[in-house]
Amino acid sequence: MRTTKKIIAASAAIATLVGLAACGDGGGAAKVDTDTANAKGEIVFWGWGNGIKETIEAFEKANPNIKVKYSSTGTAADTATALQNAVAAGKGAPDVIMLEDATVPQFVVDGSVIDLAQFGADKLEDDFAAGPWAKMLQEGKPYALPIDSSPEVFFYNKATFDKAGVDGESIKTWDDYYEAAKKVRALGGDYYITNSIDYQPFLAQAWQAGAQPFKIDGENITINMNDEGLQKYVAFQQKLIDEDLINPKITNWSDDWYRSLGDGTTATLSIGAWMPTDLETGAAAGKGNWRVAQLPQWEEGEEASSEDGGSALAITAQSKNTAAAYKFAEFLTHGDGAKVMAEHGTFPATKKQLEDPDFLSEKSEYFGGQEVNKVLAAAAERKVSKFQYLPYNSFAQSKYGDDVVPAFQGKMTLKDALTKYAKTLASYGSDQGYTVDNQ
């Protein structure tokens, strides 16, 4: 029964890959070398995205003593998994790693990445936009340098809005948004103002409402899916669901999603400022129709923002050449490399880049000649409230679909769904050894 053996072997292989955990812990933590002025040698870098190769070329030109070996690790999730495996094995981690902001805490907790304040990274605070910088702090210390800023902004399809008789520029509050949603839905067919959303936008929108679902203090976690901010968010979303104003049949990042953005049947997006390049490539049919604006507010005149996604560079505890590693991380995020990255489509995190007049006055044809960067940069400079991600963010992300999305299909109320979700997250947290208080 060769096939039976195959299952066993395959399952065992999966288990083995990650399971090397049993073999080693920590290990390889070399002494941290902070002498960046004399840094030399070779460093290994894992990451993904555009413009990396060009940035490395620029770095090696400026620092001929340092050689960067780059491996493209695909996606944010794959990179985090790869690091997780290397940490479990006790060896094989790169010197510098690109991580999605929300997964950084996970690696701070288990000591896989090191505090960058020892290289003087804390002095860079004023050079970065507030939102991305705040996310890098764990107990007041920077553990990563932000590559991009990703304020939540509001994209809308002007062609659809015109058809529905909505003026996009006049949407200032979520109440305005609700009125617009009804008009868009009145177009009939598949026209909706938005589709049932994903984990990241959920957190970002709850964050903007002032919610703090997760509070982490060392080994103690407090989960509260029913605080004032979330109540506001839940009540609003439930109203949209009840009145059939959210399309429950389209998932973010699916083929259907991109097509509906292209033909305008999904009329708006509340998502991170990194979205323009995705729209241009994924929904090319919508060229000229899309516009970007600030996120609607809960109260008129407020300027609350939040962050959605974004990535950062961290240095691993296994690195044997931390000085060179930091030099590279600083170059890519804060130094001259940041400009190269911005030229290749990264929405920058440094104030210098965000205030660069050439960058701001760029007109986008896809957005009907709008100076998109100006809107995005203004969003990046808005204030954000305190917000923390769970130290097991990837688990939380994978379970969101199981527990919360049924509410968007009307199978249960959003409030019940979030209660269930909180329970799932709490029991996982306790199972992982945290002391969890689920309120």
């Binding site: 066993i8 812990d25 288990d110 598949d190 097509r259």
Partner: protein
């Protein structure tokens, strides 16, 4: 020991109709065994030839299994590290509703999909074997072709066709004014079953067809001289012959359905909402436990329990079919 449950295809089919090629392996084995016994002395020369295989076998099959069993007795926590927990992972699995719901789902899938697929395969094999059709070679190749397409690719193709918004289903709905949605949660399992059937019907047809083609043509001639109708030939000669290969295809299909992973995992991002959960099938659950939940020890326990369940079912099916053969 999974190797002991290996069905011997030639022996099984050889029992109903004895052909010279089927009978020969077993006689050779017997002769060999007698020679060994008479010698009364251990002879290690054979191992010189065996060791390259044995080393690979130990590393590729034995060690991973032993290792998976080993790590399933541990638990790794973010706070507290790895520690020995004995059978805790197993006892937790026994009361894990998500796990049992996934087992139930694939069991239901197996009970419905496997018979349909095998019936289709058998009908197709009989049709090709009847030699009354034109273009059988083309038909044989084209029904087998889906098996050669990687499951990921065929799922993507089917996924695009299934799309009620932009896919072929949409065009169908527009044309006939219907509102069919094959990706709705209630019918999703059927849609996945359709993909799996499409993928494997040709493969099983080939197994059936090969056992049909071992029937000597003189039997048919004799039957027609005796005045047997085509239907009687099918019933009394062909179907009994198919019975032997049926055991193999059933076992392969059961194992395949219990391993269901590619199709639902690709379709997860194509179907609306959460119709495909992270614990849709046991394999998907193990995958998600390992890679997003960081619970590889628990996933190892799950893998072992699933292997035991699958082997038990396959073994039961085999015993049953052996008993029927004995009659």
């Amino acid at each position: 020991m999974p190797s002991q449950t290996i069905p011997e295809p030639p022996a099984v089919s050889g029992r109903t109709i004895t052909t010279s090629s089927d009978a020969s392996p077993s006689t050779t084995n017997n002769r060999f065994a007698t020679v060994r016994v008479n010698r009364h002395k251990a002879d290690w020369r054979g191992w010189k030839f065996m060791w390259p295989f044995a080393v690979v076998f130990v590393f590729v099959f034995i060690i991973p299994i032993v290792y998976a069993i080993y790590i399933s007795f541990f638990k790794k926590q973010m706070i507290g590290g790895t520690r020995f927990v004995g059978l805790e992972n197993y006892s937790r699995l026994l009361v894990d509703q998500q796990f049992w719901s996934s087992v139930g789902r694939v069991a239901l899938f197996t009970v419905v999909q496997v018979p349909i697929m095998l019936c289709l395969s058998a009908v197709m094999a009989l049709a090709i074997d009847s030699m009354k059709l034109h273009g059988t070679k083309f038909f044989r190749i084209s029904t087998f072709l889906p098996y050669a397409v990687p499951a990921v690719v065929s799922t993507l193709i089917w996924g695009f066709m299934y799309g009620a918004k932009y896919g072929l289903v949409r065009s169908f709905n527009d044309l006939f004014g219907t509102s069919i949605d094959v990706m709705a949660p209630s019918v999703l399992l059927v849609s996945i079953g359709n993909i799996v059937t499409w993928e494997f019907v040709g493969y099983n047809m080939l197994i059936f067809y090969s056992s049909l083609s071992t029937i000597p043509h003189s039997l048919y001639e004799a039957a027609s001289i005796d005045g047997a109708s085509e239907w009687q030939i099918v019933r009394s000669i062909k179907l009994p012959e198919l019975h032997g290969s049926l055991a193999i295809t059933v076992i392969f299909s059961i194992i395949g359905s219990f391993q269901l992973f590619n199709e639902p995992s690709i379709m997860q991002s194509m179907v609306p909402g959460n119709a495909i959960t992270t614990y849709y099938t046991p394999n998907m659950y193990a995958y998600n436990l390992s890679f997003s939940g960081n619970q590889s020890n628990y996933a190892a326990a799950l893998a072992i329990v699933m292997a035991v369940i699958t082997m038990a079912i396959a073994y039961a099916v085999q015993l049953r079919s052996m008993r029927e053969q004995m009659k």
